[in-house]
Symmetry: C2
Subunit: 149 residues, 2 copies
DNA sequence: TCTATTTCGATGTATATACAATTAATGTAT
DNA sequence: ATACATTAATTGTATATACATCGAAATAGA
């Protein structure tokens, strides 16, 4: 549905402003849909993302600031998200021997298991969430990559 | 830049999953840029959006639930955002005479002034934020409108 | 070496999002 | 008319985002 109808607004005069609003609105739609999957596993979308980052390095550990670097939201707080995951026994923290300021984070077996369980479900969900053809999705990716300049 | 490079990840196997991540990442980029404009006026992006909704009805009032309906994030909390704006004297609240459960919200002169001041700046910023041509922006809008099904 | 600066992570605070519960007012059904 | 259900808004709680500050450790430079 057109964004103007969904938020009951008069048509935008400016396509750029419309696109900004459209992106914000679509984000909200995405997160709502995603949460339905993660909620039953006691994970937030952000915690899921951190687990994926850790799996990408496994079995090597990765520091908190490296996690921060790779997070989707650079203004988020890796330290606190890691703490939440540690409480759930999905990650381990170990002081880095080389540099005692740093903390090495590793995903646990439990963390890997949960990702494994979610793998197919997330993939299916991502496909269902986006009501687009393969070539449209490719177009969208290109536009988003260009958009950020 | 390609999303994989920005978040230092290996290439996505699945274009749909890539698009979801791309949208989340782009959202964070947008909000960061937008906040730079709103911050000096002591407004958050969400508060700005509520003010715009109110201006759309002005001089008619609008109820809290109608605001909620039109908000970009349906899970947000119009009641609390209105309260914040009221403290800043940008909106007024009045009990609805017809239905005493409802609360009529109106934007004040001060609220309108601030929107007026921001108008051009926001428009320019929206154009600068999106590194796309006119036809690409139109494409993006079409894709997003279709995406949500 | 000694000092100054930078880096890393943790922490504090304000705002917003997500969702549940509550309260008051209204509407509906018998 | 009374009981029951629904609606509107507020409030409570947990998580996340945004940004500033802090302390410990490492690094750079005189």
């Amino acid at each position: 549905m057109k964004i103007e109808d969904e938020i009951r607004q008069k048509p935008f005069k400016d396509a750029y402003s419309k696109a900004v609003v459209n992106l914000l609105y679509t984000h909200s739609y995405l997160v709502t849909e995603q949460s339905k999957i993660f909620k039953p596993h006691d994970l937030s979308p952000e915690q899921y993302n951190v687990l994926r980052i850790l799996r990408g390095q496994h079995p090597e550990p990765i520091t908190v600031s490296s996690i921060q670097d790779r997070m989707l939201n650079k203004m988020s707080n890796a330290s606190r998200l890691v703490e939440k995951l540690k409480i759930k026994k999905m990650v381990e923290r170990k002081e880095c021997a080389v540099d005692r300021r740093q903390v090495d984070i590793t995903i646990t077996g439990k963390g890997l298991e949960i990702l494994e369980q979610l793998e197919e479900e997330v993939k299916k969900s991502n496909k269902n969430i986006l009501n687009l053809t393969k070539s449209e999705v490719a177009q969208l990716n290109d536009l988003l990559d260009k958009l950020r300049g």
